[in-house]
């Protein structure tokens, strides 16, 4: 196999690089060890930062967010909900910070309008009656799955190739040059060579690992963050705590749910990242003063991601290390065609990709300009289904005599599964239920897949999509993934739900005895 540019990592950054290069007419292959957004890009808060969160301590980051946020709202509008955001201070919060906030915003060019507390509470009743100041900022919510999937779909339409479940395990180097990457197929373990002119390492938190394979050391820190998903949506806007960034400061609207977080703690090992009971309790404790309904809110899920932070330690929790991005050309490491782009934010992924692609193009002698800030991402129908509400709308507007609902919580019908299956299949993949889950809302409702996984597998068998004895493994794999996000939030009703799920899958079906 051969390509001009090998991109490693299928998160928001890698897929944005693929889109950027494809738009400039450069041939590329993106290899991803799991699936699109398997890393931090699928485990973040989904806040398209207005920049206001960074104004007090990092004016550059704030300004960068403002500019990039505006661009993404234009070019990736389908992935973004322009909800607006509030910054809310409650009694006991640092009043100096509150007082300085509007001035800092102004300096970064960010509009922060004061809203009187009564009006804010009328619009967002979840806000505490102990609120003392509220500002409105142009925060928005972004669906990172849709963003990555649509970027990749555009790149593919222009000739880029995506290889899922393919891990880079080594490089063949000759002098200053990487000649080929050795990649391993995650399904059957076979390896092959991809001959390359350029390599762009966009492996997020794993960038250090990948660079090491090429003989290029990078200094990186990992900061783990945990987030909670509520049952039902608590607020229409983004609600930020108006205080220096700390734990559980942000409540994001995410379609039918709200997402609350985050924590930040240093981790050394990227394996086995999972939310803990202590983190869940900490988040609820910290956020409740601003949003009292959280005290009794049902939490249906928790998940954790790792932020790659570039640089060396200066604080214990990683929050004080820069969240800016870094582009390494690795010239000093004796490499001429290998580069790393990592760190940064979801909000700045396009800019990161532009800088990365600029470097690659310079090295390749390609002079075409970057088009990602001006050309909107075109519609790709198979990328629509991550949007909550999309599947119900299409199901209700269609004549669905032969289109049964498979996921009743999120109203995903059989035809959606079929469309996703076919799209993956057409790209030469062997789709699993988990793959389909990532590209749709299936299993994301209150039942967390207990019922719809069974129906989905039955449906896929009946259509001849699934064959052989793998159906049970599909159900089990899907659950394992869903359960990973559940075990730390099991109390109250959600525990009753989990018990019912176990009664069905173990009590009746005996899946644990396979």
């Amino acid at each position: 196999m051969e390509t001009q540019v090998l991109i490693i990592g299928g998160g928001v950054t890698g897929t944005a690089v693929a889109r950027d290069l494809a738009l400039r007419g450069v041939d590329c292959i993106l290899v991803e060890k799991d699936d699109v957004n398997a890393g931090a890009s699928g485990r973040n808060h989904g806040l398209l930062h207005s920049g206001a969160r960074y104004v007090a301590h990092d004016q550059d980051a704030a300004t960068e967010c403002r500019i990039e946020g505006d661009i993404l709202k234009r070019v990736a509008s389908r992935a973004i909900q322009d909800t607006g955001g509030y910054f809310v201070a409650v009694q006991g919060d640092d009043e100096k910070y509150v007082g300085d906030f509007p001035g800092f915003c102004a300096r970064a060019g960010i509009t922060a309008r004061p809203v009187d507390v009564a009006t804010a509470r009328a619009r967002e009743p979840a806000i505490s009656d102990k609120a003392i100041a509220v500002y409105e900022v142009p925060d928005a919510s972004v669906d990172p799955f849709r963003l990555s999937l649509e970027s990749m779909a555009q790149a593919r339409s222009l000739g880029a190739r995506l290889m899922r479940r393919t891990r880079v395990v080594g490089f063949e180097r000759e002098g200053r040059e990487i000649r080929a990457a050795v990649v391993q197929d995650g399904t059957n373990g076979t390896t092959q060579r991809v001959h390359v002119s350029q390599v762009m390492n966009a492996a997020g938190a794993w960038a250090r690992e990948v660079a090491q394979l090429a003989g290029a050391p990078i200094e990186m820190l990992y900061s783990k963050g945990t987030l909670l998903v509520t049952h039902g949506r608590l607020a229409r806007r983004v609600i930020n705590r108006l205080r220096p960034p700390g734990n559980a400061d942000i409540l994001m609207p995410g379609g039918t749910v709200s997402i609350l977080g985050t924590t930040s703690s240093r981790v050394e090992d990227l394996r086995d990242i999972h939310p803990t009971v202590d983190e869940v309790d900490l988040i609820l404790r910290e956020a409740t003063p601003m949003l009292p309904p959280l005290e009794t809110m049902r939490i249906i899920r928790a998940y954790a991601g790792v932020r790659p932070l570039v640089g060396s330690p200066s604080g214990s929790d990683g929050r004080t290390v820069s969240r800016g991005f870094a582009l390494f050309d690795h010239e000093a490491d004796g490499l001429s065609n290998f580069a790393t782009i990592t760190g940064g934010k979801l909000t700045t992924c396009r800019l990161m990709a532009e800088r990365a692609a600029d470097l690659v193009c310079r090295r390749l002698g390609v002079t075409r300009p970057c088009l990602t800030a001006s050309d909107p991402i075109p519609v790709s129908p198979e990328c629509e289904w991550t949007e909550p509400g999309r599947a119900p709308r299409s199901w209700m507007s269609a004549l669905h005599v032969d289109d049964p609902l498979i996921c009743e919580c999120e109203m995903v019908s059989g035809s959606v599964l079929d469309a996703l299956y076919q799209a993956l299949r057409a790209a030469g993949d062997t789709p699993t239920l988990t793959d389909i889950g990532l590209r749709s809302r299936i299993g994301k409702g209150a039942c967390q897949g207990a019922f719809c996984a069974v129906r989905a597998v039955a449906h896929l068998y009946q259509n001849g999509d699934f064959q052989g004895s793998r159906g049970l493994d599909e159900i089990v794999d899907f659950f394992r993934e869903r359960w990973g996000g559940q075990h730390a939030v099991l109390w109250g009703q959600q525990l009753a739900q989990a018990e019912l799920m176990e009664a069905l899958h173990c009590g009746l079906f005996g899946e644990e005895l396979r």
């Binding site: 289109d403 597998v457 064959q467 394992r480 990973g484 109390w491 018990e499 069905l504 005996g510 899946e511």
Partner: protein, 433 residues
């Protein structure tokens, strides 16, 4: 039910799941006057299969062909397990009584032969169970001998794909085949509900038309499996007639809840309790129980202002988290009606394992009420909370019915033993009121 306010019952049963039903039934059969409070929500989820004990120790995933051998191993390993405190004779008698009551109201079970049976489920796994509804029994025989056999599914019944089952176990059962047919009268509907089909197939015309659609597809099949939708109250008749018109043994395959066998079980239990004159408050919850020396007073919430029931003994059969007998806050598990002490793991971090299917099971599933040998729950001082307060079924500690495959056995066995103790305690049982 006007007289119920002043009437003094021998037994008040709180809960109408498998345990509450079994307790009420066994009490009434012993001529104890019985009142039951609660709706039959829990029992709707049942599969119709009545497990006794299928797996032990769960961490070893060891399945047993004989539940009584499993029990003797369980008694050695887990002496606190509620089933370890019920004798084999009591279990045999309790199951015999339970299935004969079901048979009497039109829900026949295959004769109990002391052995566990393999039952094919709707996702192609094999479940180990004890008492098998007659409508499922031919499937057990097929599972054992694996001759040529046809599985039928209905388009639109989303929880069951016969093709999936064949794909799962076909390699070990080469004669197993699948077909999909339209359910007569539902051709224009995209989602079929098992209960609707079950009701429809009770009409002779629909049943004949199902048989007509399946007959040409039989090939060399020696038996035919259907999803469990073959009738509700008249399931015995539907099953019989379908066998006649197909000329082959027919069996049902249990599906995902809420399923038709669950509905049948609920209806049958209700009929049996009515026949035994158990007084039932189905729309009520018990909000409080107070005790004096000899009488317990239960407060119900079914009418504005509430009403009370008086009884000489009380059985708590309120289930776990789904049933509502236990509830969990972020810190600990509590018992809902009486705030009895709950045996439980130390902190929430220990409640669940990280892997859903961890063979050892989730520790929180063994939380529950600790009792004495008569199933009287203990208060903090280790003594029975009240001398005639009992607990039966899944609310009990030291068991994991989901992993051990002992849900019905736990309900039926503990009900039997508790009722024996009640009957002994009340000495000269008499009809009250």
């Amino acid at each position: 039910m006007n007289g119920n306010r002043t009437r003094l019952f021998d037994v008040a049963v709180i809960g109408a799941g498998m345990a509450g039903m079994a307790t009420s039934l066994f009490a009434a059969r012993r001529d104890l006057s019985c009142v039951q409070v609660g709706n039959g929500g829990g029992i709707l989820f049942a599969s119709g299969l009545l497990d006794l004990l299928g797996v032990h120790p769960v961490a070893d995933r060891r399945r047993w062909d004989c539940p009584f051998e499993a029990l003797s191993s369980l008694r050695r390993d887990l002496p606190d397990h509620p089933l370890a405190r019920v004798g084999d004779d009591a279990l045999r008698a309790a199951f015999e009584a339970f299935v004969s009551e079901l048979g009497a109201v039109g829900l026949p079970y295959a004769p109990l032969d002391g052995a566990n049976h393999p039952v094919l489920t709707s996702i192609g796994t094999v479940k180990t169970t004890y008492a098998v509804p007659r409508s499922m029994m031919a499937g057990v025989e097929m599972m054992r001998s694996r001759p040529s056999c046809l599985l039928v599914d209905f388009r639109g019944l989303r929880e069951f794909s016969a093709r999936q089952v064949v794909a799962k176990i076909g390699a070990d059962w080469p004669g197993l085949h699948s077909v999909r047919v339209e359910f007569p009268g539902f051709e224009a509907v995209s989602e079929l509900y098992a209960a609707h089909l079950a009701r429809a197939i009770e009409s002779a015309a629909t049943r004949d038309s199902v048989a007509e659609r399946v007959r040409p597809l039989l090939g060399d099949a020696t038996a035919v499996g259907f999803p469990a939708v073959l009738g509700l109250s008249r399931s015995g008749e539907v099953h019989e007639r379908l066998q006649q018109s197909l000329g082959l043994p027919v069996f049902e395959i249990p599906t995902m809840p809420t399923s038709v066998p669950g509905l049948r079980l609920k209806d049958a239990m209700e009929a049996a309790l009515a026949a035994w004159r158990v007084v039932r408050h189905v729309q009520a919850k018990v909000t409080k129980v107070s005790f004096d020396d000899d009488v317990a007073t239960l407060s119900l919430d079914d009418v504005p202002g509430g009403q009370t029931i008086r009884a000489r003994s009380v059985v708590l059969a309120t289930g776990r988290f789904t049933g509502g007998g236990l509830s969990a806050g972020r810190g600990h598990v509590s018992e809902r009606v009486l705030d009895l002490p709950v045996h439980q793991p130390g902190t929430r971090g220990e409640w669940h394992r990280r892997d859903f299917l961890d063979p050892a099971g989730h520790p929180v599933n063994r939380a529950g009420l600790a009792t004495d040998g008569d199933f009287r729950p203990l208060s903090a001082d280790g003594r029975p909370a009240w001398h005639r307060l009992f607990a039966t079924g899944s609310i009990l500690a030291h068991q994991d019915w989901m992993r051990e495959k002992c849900g019905s056995g736990l309900a039926i066995g503990t009900a039997w033993t508790a009722v024996e103790a009640i009957s002994r305690g009340l000495q000269a049982p008499r009809k009250a009121g």
